[in-house]
């Protein structure tokens, strides 16, 4: 990744802490999440965040697979956690997307 000219666009999960609160209803950066692709476990603060796009994409720091996606639309916040296993979701997050 060191030769990646986009590296300066890449953040970690702390940078999107506010969006995680919006999406899940509470502070999530310390919550561990397991990558559904490779099994790596990391707190959400340790995920790799891509924020320069239509929505936020959080990727596994070990294998780069998509773990969480968040998009803010006119209808509300869409959250996809299909790439993350074992994230202890707060009750507020247990609702259908959109």
């Amino acid at each position: 990744m060191t030769d990646d000219p986009l590296q300066d666009l890449v953040l970690d999960g702390n940078a999107v802490a506010g969006s995680l609160v919006d999406a899940f209803g509470e502070e999530m950066t310390a919550t561990p999440g397991e990558c559904a692709s490779c099994g790596n476990v990391a707190p959400l603060a340790g995920l790799v965040a891509y924020t320069r796009g239509p929505g936020i994409v959080l990727r596994c720091p070990a294998c780069t697979a998509v773990m969480i996606r968040i998009a803010r639309t006119r209808q509300g916040i869409f959250v996809d956690v299909q790439g993350a296993r074992g994230v202890a979701m707060p009750p507020a997050a247990l609702r259908p997307i959109a």
Binding site: M1, D4, P5, L6, L9, V10, Y50, R52, G53, P54, G55, V57, R59, T64, V66, R69, A71, T73, R74, Q75, G76, F78, D80, A98
Partner: protein
């Protein structure tokens, strides 16, 4: 399109300025740089391993190596592009191969109605076939006279300039034809399935 708003004697720079404003879709602002948007790490595909494939509901799939793709009839395209993050860039200059040329190499199954563009890194985006054909989409490998840079989707990206730019899949590796629509990376997360900037089709339900 702009002509309706310009009187017959209205020439030169003022007409140009008026036309430029008329080329910016609602809710968008003009930029002169080329913002880089990305949902993941930039893939670095060895051109010797690169291929472009047309598959799915076709009689026989078609596939080209990089060299074979370069040998296809290419065209220059001068297009305005609009990103759903609200920037519009006028007169972007591309070189690439029209989707119409690519489709000459396959026989579509009559059931095919939709296409999914798929990319290195796993990105996908979906289009109805009528938005892909008749000169509306191309696979670009050069931008402003230079090989398309990786951060802008090189070695090759789909360009569908009449739709929001997330439809113009970076690092594209092929087109898959389907009978049923299959929402892509952003379309499955609340973004509009079609994405016409002139109708402000940003989000699902717009």
């Amino acid at each position: 399109m702009a002509d309706r708003f310009v009187t017959r004697g209205f020439v030169g720079k003022r007409q140009d300025a008026g036309s430029a404003a008329d080329r910016v879709p609602p809710g968008q602002h003009l930029v002169s740089d080329f913002p880089v948007l990305s949902a993941g790490p930039t893939p670095r595909t060895d051109l010797r391993k690169w291929s472009f494939r047309i598959e799915g509901l076709v009689k026989e799939p078609a596939q080209w190596t990089w060299d074979e793709f370069q040998a296809l009839p290419a065209q220059e395209f001068l297009k305005d592009i609009s990103c759903v993050t609200k920037w519009t860039k006028l007169d972007t200059h591309w070189r690439g191969v029209s989707a119409d040329v690519l489709l000459e190499h396959v026989e579509l199954d009559p059931r095919a109605r939709f296409v999914v563009a798929f990319s290195d890194g796993g990105y996908t985006t979906n289009l109805p076939i009528p938005d892909l054909i008749n000169g509306q989409a191309f696979v670009a490998y050069a931008y402003e006279g230079k090989p398309l840079a990786p951060e802008h989707g090189g070695p090759a990206r789909l360009v569908v300039p009449h739709l929001y730019f997330w439809k113009s899949a970076k690092w594209v590796r092929g087109l898959r034809f389907l009978a049923d629509d299959r929402p892509g990376f952003w379309e499955s997360l609340g973004y509009n399935n079609h994405g016409d900037p002139w109708k402000e089709e940003r989000y699902s339900g717009d």
